[in-house]
Symmetry: D3
């Protein structure tokens, strides 16, 4: 591997979470090109709902996570889990929130609970790989 | 009103919230008599889900409120709003949480948002009446 | 009460179940007048789904009850509970079926579980009153 | 009744639809006082969604009606039925739209179909009474 | 390419929409072999709901699309989008209909909105490829 | 078969059902490691709901199947279909139960009905392959 840069070297293999995020980014960009005021405003309103307000942003991401879980939307769960991990919630706190979703929404939520637990693991692995990568970059 | 005790004197008129709570208490008592282990355990699990854990109890009541709102259950909204008001959330915080429910769940949630706002008003009026009643009792 | 017929004599007071059944009958009659082939066929298909087939009719009424409970429709729950009671299911069997609905559908089903338990009580009371009425008629 | 104006004279008795509309107006006014930008924008976005656009406003009201029916929200059904009647749809067209909702959403929609048919009848009766009232006013 | 027929020559690569349509055709054929009168009638009723009636067929396909979107069923969205494109609706009209679904159903519909926009693009690309193929066939 | 053991020899190719079951087993094992009493109890309650009680276990699996179908959860449908096939229900009985789900839940259930029919075919093929494998083992 002498002298040739390999952009994927040392990177973890791509996961379903990476695929989903790429798809979401590509489609959100496509949707951004749509000339419809209602659509534009809806997306702006959606982003604004989780910003700091009477409640802290982190609490609202947790609300978004539980709402997504009881409504059983894996893509929405993945999005809000990413935000919740970024906001600093521990695994124990995320599980405690998802437990509320399980009890409110019932066993029909179990497949989405499995998905959510896997996503948390993927997010933690990504972060660990990122930290290791940064460390390796600093050392080299 | 000389000498005759009137138990309803000075009390606010009964509201739909009072009716609902009486009905819920009566039926929960009736359900408590049912000899089915699964039912008993489910109700125990439901209560336990909102107790202090990795997340504070108050946050979990807020999660229960938003889950109830997006799943569009007025009885559940009323129950969790009562718990949230007891936990000390302000009107501004409750509205900020319900705004997440509106955005996630859409305009189909609006009738339940109306219901929730009315319930908050009823809960605040009850508390104000309770405070006034206590004050009157102290003064007499 | 000599000589004057009182059609409500000895009858239990009207309940929310009586009101619902009258409303349903009145509206089904109104809907029967609608000249739309799709509507007519849908109602016929709905009735046919619970008739004796590869599965006995009683099992299919129980399926209809649990489907109605997890989809959280009180009117549908009341209808299928009436059919299930007519089919001879005991209270223990109905509760065991509703327990499946609670576990699958979660605590958001609890208000409908309360409603269902009350409906079973109303149906049993109606039957008891009917038996008492028949007995009184035989004795007089 | 000589010489004293009776504002309710000749008017049809108040219906559940009148009650609902009063409640909605009162609560929408209450909600209008809430100082939360997200809530304000959501209500504005909701109104805007049914205005003339690439599709005519009337078609979008019909879409709102069917969406409300399959999501099983009586208040939303009543609102959109009012708009659809104002937009000039005939009973036959409204039933044809509701038939799509029945087929897509299944028998669990039937109680809401009953409600919708009753609402159409109430709206037509109100209009007939209004026409009769105008005629009487012109003749007197 | 002398003399050897290549059936895939000049054809666009297979998409998820092609895969879905093949699967649906295969399974519908499998279901057609099932000897259950209720199933047969339900499928017939489903087809009939979108035929010309008091409302034009095209309007009913649009109703089916919005019902599918708020109920969050990608397969149903894809089916009705295909019908809507065949019925001649423009991209602007489809987006305007999907905007109603977004507002009624909330941000939980966003992943299905992304899916729908991608499906419209796939349907337009297929049509463009078909036109190009026909043109090439006419010219050769 | 000269000396080299081939564990996959004579086995049917892996299906989406095999993949799902592996994933479910892996994630259930992962979830079993989570130290949260509510989660543990919820999973225990879910298992217990289908055990012999006032109703036979097989009837409750059928209730679970129809509840899963009307709530439109393919993973839950697959799980309960497996249990129902193990409990001895015939294809005709399963279709008759799924017909109730179709009528109650509407055409939005059709994609899940397709999925369910395919799963029944996969389960029957697996059983046939298992029987053939056992027969071959006995004969060799």
């Amino acid at each position: 591997m002498t002298g040739i840069a390999d952009p994927t070297r040392g990177q973890p293999p791509r996961t379903r979470l990476d695929e989903f995020e790429d798809y979401r980014d590509r489609m959100n960009s496509r949707i951004g090109d749509i000339d419809h005021l209602g659509i534009k405003r809806f997306f702006a309103l959606d982003s604004a709902a989780y910003r700091e307000g009477a409640l802290p942003s982190s609490t609202k991401e947790l609300l978004g996570l539980v709402a997504s879980a009881v409504l059983r939307c894996n893509d929405c769960i993945d999005y809000h889990l990413g935000q919740c991990v970024d906001a600093g919630f521990s695994d124990e706190e995320l599980i405690d929130a998802l437990n509320v979703a399980l009890v409110v929404g019932g066993s029909i939520v179990i497949p989405h609970f499995r998905h959510a637990v896997e996503t948390v693991d993927l997010l933690r692995a990504r972060r660990a790989a990122g930290d290791a990568g940064e460390l390796a970059a600093q050392e080299s």
